[in-house]
Every structure is written in structure tokens, then in C-alpha cells.
């Protein structure tokens, strides 16, 4: 498997004979060196010295800003906001996965899900209360937290409702990030939750953690201590800088691999209890309505999932010939072990190369070279994780769970490439 050979030089997928123009080793060997199209000399940008050689550059800046204007033929990446017409703070902003590269989401583009806007919290008076079934109830202020040993780790964060339009019978058309971008990946730094919980001396009755925030939407969640991962933390930093307001400043829970709502923002209190509180967010929302009419609670772990980010709907492939197919895979179970690609709608598959290092509960970037012949094609990606779970086809997911689940949609996605190079989202 490519993952075990990070030094392998070639871009190609494995030696199987996947169709649709995906690179295979056989193809690579058979092909000779073809001549590149020669650029016309007249009008070349190299004919004259550039303006930037004749003037001093722009000034330093205290805090660097994204480029302005258009980026050649590329889109300026922005979050796309969709929210409730009556309560504008109840909604989401999507990470533009289709316009980003690599695995780390810039802080200004990390997805948002707020139920009643971004809470404004005064850091000077902020405290985190830990109480309930404890030997001593403690309140930590921000300065005290900064004195505690911290850890850093890269982790994806995905809203349980990401991709939920795909439960509908018709394939919705939108750029990939605006259907699937309620997931982002960042390096988080903070204090291990276990460090804080140890300090309050939980009693034998302490089985659950009820987390409450400073937000005005009453987002309160019950989390079982028996399943809480050891790497759960109270995050204070995101990609090296202080948490942004929309990501929970001054402190949020970060539970790698668990659905977004459990990663409570603007944290105010952690109450240890002997059972779940069955809050609104334990029952009405973030529960999975199955096809037999029962509702499954506490489905914390996110499934194995992948999508091709480039090319993807909203992009136009400029012409036949060589293109890189690239995308992201992730799983709440830990490590992505394999991503397969198909360029013929799933008739044949080949392994994509996984960008190293592959980190547990983080975005894994996958890549493959593709020689597009200009004919209609259907691109798919299919991820497998360390637990051996394989991303299901949409039909299989629906047959198992029905169409009312609303949360945890992780089926294989398909992009149809038209002869003119445009892409659309299809069920295939």
C-alpha cells in the first residue's frame, strides 16, 4: 500500500488497471516522453521585465490578510453562510473545501455552526466551573489554565449534520464545500481534559459530563466519561493563535473524532453526573431517526468519509489531458488506511496516494494523476479506516438507515464530468 512507502516518487495509483484515465503503473511504463505544447514567443510574459522589478514592494503588516480580488482563474476562498431567515444567528458557514489545498483549514475559513450567534465572552471575568459529583468544585480562570501543561494535536472537526442534503432524493447542486464543508481540520492546543477532571476528585457517581456554554442557545450536551477519548482537551489555541470568537473563545471542548456539537464552544461549566441530563441537544437534535421510527442517541463518533475536492462541482476542467485528482478523507475511528478512486462511476477502482504523514482523526489528503480523454466521466472516492470500515455507497447507507437520519451522512460521493469540463453532483 502506498501509505507504507512514503518515499515513492511517482504520483501514480497502483498497478491495477482502473479505467477512465486514472494513472496506472502499466500506463506509466508504456508511455514515452511526449512533447509539451510550445508557447508562442510573441506576447510572452518573459519578453519584458516585470513592473515589480521597477518599484519597491508593499509594506509589512501586523497581521497578514488574505489576497484580495480574483486569483487568476481561481476563486477567492470564502465561507458560504446559510442561516435561518428569522434567527440569523442560527445557521452555518461552510469551509470552501473545493478551494483549499493541503490538510489544515485556515482559521478564518473554519466552518461555523451556531444556534444563536457567536457568544461574546469577557476573558477577564471568564471562568470554567467544574462541579457536580466531585470532591471539590473548582473554577479556573484563563490565567490559571495557561499555567497548566498543554498538548497540541491536529484534528478534524465535523458537524453531525454535514452533508445532510444528501439524505434527500435529488442531488443538490452546489460547490463541494457548500454541501460537505461543515468539516475542517486544525491544530488545536490546550489542556487535557483529564488534567482538569483529576483536579476535582470525581466521586464514584461521576459517570457523565454535562457541558454547558456561555451561548444564548442553551447548547448543553451530556458526554459519557467511559467513552471520552484520552486526547479530549480544553482547547485554547487553533493553528497557533488564540481561539477565534466564532470557534469558542476563550475555551472550547475538543474531542477528536466526535461530532461537532460535543466540542462545546464558549465553555462555562462541566458538571459531573451519574447519568445524562437528556437536554434538548441530547434528544431533539443530533440524534439519528432510523427507518424503524426509533431515534438513536449519543452517536458521537464520526464515520469514515472522503470527497474529491479537485476537480469538484463548481470547477471547470479546462481541457483534456493531465489533471490531478485530489481530495480529503477522515474518520472518527483514527487513521485512514486507504482511499480508492474511480473515474468510471465505480466500475473499476485504484488506490490513491495518501499524503504523508497520515494522522489519526485528522484530514488525510489523497492524490492521483488522471489523464482525461475529454469524454463524460464519473469520479468517486472511497475511504477505508483502521477499523476496516469502508465508506458505503449511498444506496447501501439508505437501505440500512432510511432517509430520515439527518445526521452522519458518509456515503461515497460522485461527481459527473461533462464533455465541456463542467462538474455536477450526482447519485451514481
Amino acid at each position: 500500500m502506498t501509505m507504507k512507502n512514503p518515499d515513492k516518487k511517482s504520483l501514480q495509483v497502483d498497478a491495477s488497471e482502473a479505467g477512465g484515465g486514472l494513472y496506472s503503473r502499466r500506463r506509466f511504463v508504456q508511455r514515452g516522453v511526449a512533447g509539451a505544447a510550445t508557447l508562442a514567443a510573441a506576447g510572452s510574459v518573459f519578453a519584458e521585465s516585470p513592473d515589480s522589478w521597477r518599484q519597491q514592494g508593499d509594506a509589512f503588516s501586523n497581521y497578514g490578510q488574505p489576497l484580495e480580488g480574483t486569483l487568476g482563474s481561481r476563486q477567492q476562498p470564502i465561507r458560504w453562510i446559510t442561516s435561518n431567515s428569522a434567527v440569523t444567528g442560527d445557521g452555518v458557514s461552510w469551509t470552501p473545501l473545493h478551494d483549499l489545498a493541503g490538510t489544515i483549514t485556515p482559521n478564518g475559513l473554519h466552518f461555523e455552526r451556531h444556534h444563536n450567534g457567536v457568544a461574546v465572552v469577557d476573558p477577564g471575568s471568564w471562568e470554567l466551573l467544574i462541579n457536580g459529583a466531585v470532591g471539590r468544585s473548582l473554577a479556573f480562570n484563563l490565567d490559571s489554565l495557561h499555567r497548566l501543561p498543554m498538548v497540541s494535536r491536529i484534528a478534524f472537526l465535523e458537524c453531525g449534520g454535514n452533508s445532510n442534503s444528501l439524505w434527500h432524493p435529488n442531488a443538490v447542486q452546489a460547490p463541494a464545500g457548500f454541501l460537505h464543508g461543515l468539516v475542517s481540520c486544525a491544530e488545536w492546543t490546550g489542556v487535557r481534559l483529564s488534567t482538569l477532571l483529576d483536579a476535582v476528585s470525581p466521586t464514584d457517581d461521576a459517570k457523565w459530563l454535562v457541558a454547558d456554554g456561555y451561548d444564548s442557545a442553551g447548547v448543553t450536551v451530556s458526554l459519557p466519561l467511559s467513552e471520552l477519548p484520552e486526547d479530549a482537551m480544553l482547547a485554547l489555541y487553533q493553528n497557533g493563535e488564540t481561539l477565534r470568537a466564532e470557534n469558542g473563545y476563550p475555551a472550547r471542548l475538543l474531542i477528536p473524532g466526535w461530532e461537532g456539537v460535543t466540542n462545546l464552544k464558549w465553555l462555562r461549566s462541566l458538571t459531573l453526573t451519574d447519568r445524562p441530563a437528556m437536554t434538548r441537544y441530547d434528544t431533539v437534535s443530533y440524534t439519528d431517526l432510523l427507518k424503524d421510527g426509533t431515534v438513536e442517541r449519543f452517536s458521537f463518533e464520526m464515520g469514515v468519509k472522503s470527497l474529491i475536492t479537485s476537480p469538484s462541482p463548481g470547477h471547470t476542467i479546462p481541457g483534456s489531458g493531465l489533471h490531478e485528482i485530489s481530495g480529503l478523507a477522515w474518520t472518527g475511528a483514527g487513521v485512514i488506511t486507504r482511499v480508492e478512486l474511480s473515474a468510471d462511476g465505480g466500475k473499476s477502482w485504484a488506490d490513491a496516494e495518501l499524503q504523508q504523514p497520515v494522522l489519526s482523526k485528522a484530514f488525510t489528503r489523497f492524490r492521483a494523476a488522471w489523464q482525461w480523454d475529454g469524454n463524460p466521466a464519473i469520479l468517486k472516492s472511497r475511504a477505508t479506516d483502521e477499523r476496516g470500515r469502508v465508506q458505503p455507497e449511498r444506496q447501501a447507507l439508505i437501505e440500512e438507515k432510511g432517509t430520515n437520519v439527518y445526521y452522519h451522512y458518509n456515503a461515497v460521493l460522485a461527481w459527473a464530468v461533462a464533455a465541456n469540463g463542467s462538474l455536477s453532483h450526482v447519485y451514481a
Binding site: 428569522a86 462541579n131 488534567t195 483536579a199 421510527g293 430520515n404
Partner: protein
């Protein structure tokens, strides 16, 4: 240049000094390795925090549990609740809780396995007491935490009445909500049951 070179030289000395100070010690005695979060003494962590007194703890808004633990004193009725509902809630939740820009509060209870199931409180709230905690904290969205305790009980009384979960005239308080058996409780399940 001279300053730069001096800086470089002193930096190098600093690096060498720190290497000399730490590496041999770690090599000789692995147990002396610095850090290790699991080795932090909980008392040392606690010493950085403020210990809350019982008085302060008792003044905190309680987490309201599924059995009604934490519900405050006070009471309400549907008559008063209807007034509040029609002035404060109806714009989003629709007349008599039929839904609008916000979720319906009253809906068909038999449709959970259909294509577009209703999400009224009778089917989606397996326990009644958390209604209080949520409405008090989050409703209405433009003025959260604005309803008085009795008003929250009254709104709940009205919603329960139109949902046919409480008789007209029922006084709704902590005891009533705690004893109310919501009809779809068994429709919810988890591996923790």
C-alpha cells in the same frame, strides 16, 4: 554585521548550555524526564483554581436533569401561557405550535418512519423537564433568558395542552413535569440504556 555575529555567537552558547544542562540528566535517569501530563499532581492543578463554596454553588443555575432534578419552584398555567405564546413564540413556531421558520411543536405522532416526519414535542422530547431548561435558556432567540420562571412554566403548560399531553387548567410546576410520562420515551434508545 558585528552585532549580528555577536548575537549568533551568544545564541550558540545558549544552545550549547541548554543541551549540556538537559541531555545528560535525561539520559542518566529516564524517570527525570520533564513534563508528562499524567504525572501532574491533581492538588497542584487544583491549587491554581478557585474553590467554590457551598453558598456560591447553591446560587448557580442548576443543570436540569431528565427526572426534574434542578427545576425551580414556581408554576404556570395554559391560559397565561397562550398569551405569552401568541406574543412571543407564534412568529416562528406558528399558530398553536404548528411550525414555521422554527420546528413545529405539535405534530403527527405516528409519522416517525415517513419521509418528512413531524418533530413535535410529543415525539421528540422523551422527557418533559428539559423543556424548562431549554426554553428558559434559549427562547425567544431575540431575547433569551428573558422569560420569568412562571412564564416558562406557563408556556410549557400551553404547549402541553395543545399537544394533548396536559388537561386544560393543569397547573404546571416541577412536580408535574417530573411526573409526566412523555409518550415517545421508548422510541429513543442508545447503548447506554
Amino acid at each position: 554585521m558585528r552585532e549580528l555575529n555577536l548575537m549568533k555567537a551568544s545564541l550558540l552558547v545558549l544552545i550549547l548550555a541548554s543541551v549540556a544542562a538537559t541531555i545528560p540528566a535525561m539520559a542518566e535517569d529516564p524517570s527525570a524526564t520533564i513534563s508528562g501530563h499524567n504525572k501532574i499532581d491533581p492538588d497542584d492543578t487544583a491549587a491554581l483554581a478557585r474553590v467554590l463554596s457551598d453558598t456560591e454553588l447553591s446560587a448557580l443555575p442548576a443543570i436540569i436533569m431528565e427526572d426534574g432534578t434542578g427545576l425551580p419552584g414556581g408554576q404556570g398555567n395554559a391560559e397565561r401561557g397562550e398569551e405569552i405564546y401568541n406574543s412571543t413564540c407564534v412568529a416562528c413556531h406558528g399558530p398553536e405550535g404548528q411550525g414555521g421558520t422554527a420546528l413545529e411543536l405539535v405534530g403527527d405522532r405516528s409519522l416517525l418512519a415517513t419521509e418528512f416526519p413531524d418533530r413535535g414535542i410529543a415525539v421528540y422530547w422523551p422527557y418533559a423537564p428539559p423543556l424548562f431548561g431549554y426554553i428558559r435558556r434559549a427562547m425567544p432567540p431575540d431575547k433569551p433568558w428573558s422569560l420569568e420562571v412562571d412564564d416558562v412554566y406557563s408556556v410549557i403548560a400551553y404547549i402541553l395542552e395543545v399537544s394533548e399531553l396536559a388537561d386544560p387548567g393543569q397547573i404546571v410546576d416541577a412536580a408535574f413535569l417530573s411526573s409526566l410520562e412523555m409518550p415517545n420515551r421508548d422510541g429513543f434508545r442508545s447503548r447506554f440504556d
